[in-house]
Symmetry: C2
Subunit: 268 residues, 2 copies
C-alpha cells in the first residue's frame, strides 16, 4: 500500500492547475459529470456543488441558516463535495472554507441543462456561480447546453468545451469579467463571441384553485427575443447552431447615461 | 354608504399613476411601510411583497412549485398582496397575474434595511425586483438604507426619496436601465450619481460541530472595498454621508473586451 501511494505521489505532476467545478442542477446531474471528465484532463479537480436542484437561484446566498458541506469522494487530484447551499454558497464555501488563502486557477460552472443566454443569465445560478468566482478574481466560465433533458447529449460540444478550458487557462480574462457560454441543441456549426440579447419571459401563470378556494400560481410563459434580427447577439448565434460566448461584467453601472442622470438627480 | 362611496369616486383623480411596490424584507417591514406612505402621495399604490424575509435572494425565481398570492388590504387607490414567492416572483405575479396588459408607471423596491451598494447589488433581491421591472420596461428604482435595524430611522431620507419618485415619474429613464439608490446611516448631506464600487465580501464561516460530528457553516465575513480612494463610487458617496444613485443596466456584456476575445475564442 505504501509503495503504491508513494508511486502515485511521484507520478502526480506538480504544476497541474486546480479547477473548481460547480453547477445548479446538483452534483448528481449528467452535465456536471461530463464537465468533470474533461476538466480532469487539464488539472486537479475540486467539485463543490448543490445536493439538490437549485436552478433559477441566480446569485442567491444563504445567510441566516447554517449549511452542510459533505465530502462524497476523494482520490489523488479529485475531490467531490455536495452542499446544502446555493451555487454561490458553494463557490464561497470552496474559497473560504476549503481553499482558504489559495485560489483555484479556474472556475467552471455547469454544464447546465438548459439555456442561460440573454435574459436567462439574470435568473441563472450557473451564471451566479461564475459571477462569484469573478468577484474573487478567479477566471470563471459558465457553460450551458440549450437542452433541459436530464439525459441530454453533450458529446458534440465537448471538443469546444475543451478548447475553451485550454484557452482560459492559458490567457487571462479581462478584470472582473467572466464568460457566459451557451451551446445550441442538436449540432454545433461554430463559435461566436457576442453580446447578451435583449429579451424577456412573458409569463402566463397556471392558476390552480384548491377545494377550499385557495388560488396558487405556477410559473409558465414564453420566451420573447426582442431583437431576433440582430446578428451580434447570443440568441442569434444559438438559433444559427453556433455556441455563444458573452464576456460579462460584474459592474452593472450604465456609464453611458451617468452625465445625463447627474444633471437630473445630482441637483436634489 | 352609497353617497360616501360616490363622493370618494368623484374625488379620485383620474390620471394618477399606478405605483407597484415590493421589497425583500417582507410586507411587514418598516421600510416598505415608510415607502408606501410616501408613494401614496404620488399615485395609486399596489403592493406585492414577500410574506417573509427573502433578503439575499438576488434575482431568484420559483419555477418548480406553485406560489400563493393573498390580498391583505384593499381600499380606493391602495391594495396590498403578500406572496410566498421571491421578490422577482412578486414583480412577475404583479405584472402577469394582476395587471395583465396594463403596466404600472413606476416600480419601487424597498426601502431595504441594509446596504445594497457595490457588490451587495449582486446578491440583493431588492435590486433583483428592480431588474425584473426594468426587463419589463417599467421605470424601476431600488431603495436601501445602510441600517439593518428593524426599527431603523428613515425620517431624514424621506424628502430625498420623494424627490427621486417625482423626478422618475416625470422623466423617462434610459432604456433597460434602473436606479440602485442607497442612503447613508445617521444623516444625509447630499446626493451623488455615481458608479458601482469594486468590492467583495471576504467570508469567514462560523463552523459548528454537532454531537454527531456533523459540521455546518454559517456565513460571516467582512466587507472589502477595493478602491476606497475612488471618489466616483457608491461606497465613497455613502462613507461621505451622501445618497448614491447608480444607474444600472440589465445587459451584462463587457463591450470593451469583445474584439479582444473575438480574436481569442472566435477562432475555435
Amino acid at each position: 500500500m505504501n509503495r503504491t501511494r508513494h508511486k502515485k505521489k511521484i507520478m502526480k505532476k506538480p504544476n497541474r492547475p486546480t479547477i473548481l467545478i460547480t453547477n445548479d442542477d446538483s452534483v448528481y446531474s449528467k452535465g456536471i459529470c461530463e464537465l468533470i471528465k474533461i476538466a480532469r484532463e487539464f488539472g486537479d479537480v475540486v467539485v463543490v456543488a448543490p445536493d439538490r436542484v437549485r436552478s433559477g437561484m441566480s446569485r442567491a446566498i444563504t445567510h441566516a441558516e447554517p449549511m452542510r458541506l459533505n465530502m462524497l469522494h476523494k482520490e489523488d487530484g479529485f475531490v467531490v463535495y455536495s452542499s446544502s447551499g446555493t451555487p454561490v454558497d458553494c463557490v464561497k464555501l470552496a474559497f473560504f472554507a476549503l481553499f482558504k488563502e489559495k485560489r483555484p486557477e479556474l472556475l467552471l460552472s455547469g454544464i447546465n441543462h438548459g439555456s442561460n443566454a440573454s435574459v436567462n443569465a439574470v435568473y441563472s445560478a450557473t451564471v451566479g456561480a461564475a459571477i462569484e468566482g469573478c468577484v474573487n478574481n478567479v477566471p470563471s466560465v459558465a457553460l450551458s447546453l440549450c437542452d433541459h433533458d436530464e439525459n441530454a447529449d453533450f458529446s458534440y460540444i465537448l471538443p469546444v468545451v475543451k478548447s475553451i478550458i485550454e484557452k482560459t487557462l492559458n490567457n487571462p480574462l479581462p478584470y472582473a469579467t467572466y464568460l457566459n457560454v451557451n451551446f445550441p441543441t442538436g449540432k454545433l456549426d461554430g463559435v461566436k463571441v457576442c453580446r447578451q440579447a435583449d429579451a424577456r419571459w412573458s409569463e402566463e401563470y397556471d392558476q390552480k384553485v384548491s377545494d377550499y378556494g385557495d388560488v396558487s400560481y405556477l410559473l409558465a410563459g414564453y420566451f420573447d427575443d426582442r431583437e431576433p434580427q440582430s446578428q451580434d447577439t447570443d440568441e442569434w448565434a444559438l438559433t444559427h447552431q453556433c455556441a455563444s460566448i458573452v464576456p460579462s461584467k460584474v459592474d452593472m453601472t450604465n456609464y453611458e447615461c451617468l452625465s445625463q442622470l447627474k444633471d437630473l438627480y445630482g441637483t436634489i
